[in-house]
């Protein structure tokens, strides 16, 4: 149980952070910050599809990560109550 609890918070925070970076990355591509579209060498015709995929995956991962963090907080509350 203790291992799961530790793993839950580490993976939860890690996934949320990666997801936020993915969303920022998608925004970077969309607004072409620092000419990122050229440096990534991505195909222009499918760029919007990739941005959409990144947004969906990023948003999904944020929710998934937050669920894990929430679960860890509940563990914490239960152990405090005991």
């Amino acid at each position: 149980m203790r291992i799961r609890r530790t793993l839950t918070v580490i993976v939860g925070i890690m996934q949320s952070m990666i997801a936020v970076l993915i969303v920022i990355f998608a925004c970077g591509i969309y607004f072409n910050f620092f000419d990122i579209q050229t440096s990534l060498n991505a195909a222009v015709e499918s760029l919007y599809l990739h941005i959409l995929a990144l947004f969906v995956f990023g948003s999904f991962s944020i929710i998934s990560g937050l669920f894990l963090v929430h679960e860890w907080l509940e563990y914490d509350k239960r152990s405090c109550a005991c």
Partner: protein, 497 residues
């Protein structure tokens, strides 16, 4: 409480006209004329009006059969139940918010133009401060909405019709030569005309105001369809004539002029007085539309909150003014952000897409209700059923897709935002209805699937079977993200309730 039916046919038509005659014509013609369809915007406007009329037939039947408060939300809820009604409510809300932001941007454009007529030096300053002006306008309007400001009466409809009639008559008297404008080719060919049709579609949306007020109309079975048809038959030629005169006056140059197209045409025809008149009319129309959109978005949000889809706090009423202040403030925050972006083209498409999806759902509801409730009393029946509602669905979906053929960046951005918001809407619904634990397990399963798929994709790319999406990103980063996704998926899927 039973509502009192007191509006006759005349008032019904005026209501349809007051909804349809708005700020959109002051702001949407520019991009459609200079970038999409050229002088073919006249054809695009006629097409948009006719498609709107086709869709409105379904509204007529449903509005006459179910003249209760709630409009399309009620029809879709009766046909498909809460889930689809919730989605339609969200899109209707989003369309109102995008339209309100567009109105705020239109107001700032008209204000900058008005100043440029008298103090040209200040125009660049005004244009630079547009986001701040848009935010300030929304704050002022939201405050007056919270205080329960009265809406402008029907006199404004007559004032606008008079202004537009003077514009058309002066333009025609000035001497437009039809041959000058008819032979010009559309800028982007036929797809450009269709894209312009989509882009200018919001000009006719307001006609739905009549349906929303069906509960207050006498003999709704007769007056609602008649009102819609009459207001459509007045508004379509009016807008087409305005576009015809404006395109005949302002030449299609390579560069788009900085000032609003319709104001320039008015100045060209009626002198500075025309420019001033149209700038004031544009500002009044924008403020009126912004106020209406704030009310509409707050009533939609409250309706969904009452049905348990959104937090109950949105139902809060101001103690002193008796207005839904929380719903108004919540919507105003979104409008302020969108208004500050100031991207007219993006907002135009986004408002159009949200409403087109609702239109498609309303037509589908009609088809479903004809089967589900065959004995329902229908004072008005859509002509040529089932072809009319099927054509309505096809046209709504086709209009969503057309701008993509042009690779229009604004349309693509609006569609991407729309899909992202749809995902958000669906997640909100499931969070609200499914309960957190069941949703967590579902998300865990999907996460696990995505993670495994990513590992497989990375292996295929490494083996040279597939080409990478982003060649400059190392594959170990993809592998790391996949592993995290798999572990998170397992943890979520095995979570304890």
């Amino acid at each position: 409480m039973k509502t009192k039916r007191e509006l006759g046919l005349f008032n019904t038509v005026i209501m349809g006209l007051s909804g349809a005659i708005g700020f959109e014509i002051f702001v949407l013609l520019d991009y459609a004329y200079f970038h999409l369809a050229g002088s073919s915007i006249v054809s695009a406007l006629l097409l948009a009006g006719l498609i709107n009329l086709l869709i409105m037939f379904s509204y007529c039947e449903l509005g006459a059969a179910m003249p209760e408060v709630g409009g399309e939300y009620t029809y879709i809820k009766t046909a498909y139940g809460g889930y689809i009604a919730f989605i339609s409510g969200c899109f209707r809300w989003l369309a109102s918010v995008f339209a309100a932001a567009l109105a705020a941007v239109c107001f700032t454009q008209q204000l900058a133009y008005l100043f440029s007529l008298f103090v040209p030096e200040i125009e660049s300053f005004m244009l630079a401060q547009m986001p701040l002006i848009a935010i300030a306008v929304v704050i002022v309007l939201a405050t007056s909405e919270i205080k329960g400001a009265k809406k402008p009466g029907i006199f404004i409809v007559f004032a606008f019709i008079a202004i537009f009639a003077i514009f058309i008559a002066s333009g025609l008297l000035r001497g437009l030569i039809p041959l000058e404008i008819l032979p010009k080719q559309p800028l982007e060919g036929l797809p450009g005309v269709f894209a312009a049709t989509v882009y200018m579609f919001p000009m006719f949306f307001g006609m739905r105001a009549l349906i929303a007020s069906a509960a207050f109309i006498k003999h709704p079975g007769k007056n609602v369809p008649k009102g819609i048809l009459l207001s459509a038959l007045l508004i379509i030629p009016l807008y087409a004539s305005i576009a015809y005169v404006a395109t005949g006056v302002i030449p299609l140059e390579e560069t788009r002029p900085p000032a609003p197209f319709l104001n320039l045409a008015a100045k060209e025809i009626m002198g500075v007085a025309g420019g001033v008149l149209f700038a004031i009319a544009g500002m009044v129309a924008s403020l009126s539309a912004l106020g209406t959109s704030l009310t509409v978005q707050s009533s939609i949000a409250r309706g969904m909150s009452r049905d348990g889809y959104l937090p109950k706090v949105l139902l809060s009423i101001h103690r002193r003014f008796g207005t839904p202040y929380v719903a108004i403030i919540a919507g105003s925050l979104f409008i302020m952000v969108l208004g500050a972006i100031g991207a007219v083209e993006f907002l135009g498409y986004a408002a159009s897409f949200g409403s087109l999806l609702v239109f498609a759902l309303v037509n589908l509801s009609l088809l479903k209700l004809r089967k589900k409730e065959p004995y329902m009393e229908r004072p008005f029946k859509t002509p040529l059923y089932p072809f009319t509602p099927i054509a309505g669905v096809i046209m709504s979906v086709a209009l969503l897709v057309f701008p993509m053929f042009l690779r229009d960046v604004n349309a693509a951005s609006a569609l991407v935002s729309g899909i992202g918001l749809t995902a958000l809407v669906l997640i909100t619904y499931y969070l609200r209805m499914m309960g957190r634990h069941r949703l967590q397990i579902a998300i865990g399963g999907v996460g696990l699937g995505i993670g495994v798929s990513f590992v497989l994709l990375t292996c295929l790319v490494e083996a040279g079977i597939m080409s990478p999406i982003f060649p400059n990103i190392p594959s170990y980063i993809m592998l790391f993200i996949s592993v995290i996704s798999i572990i998170a998926g397992i943890l979520n899927a095995t979570a304890h309730g």
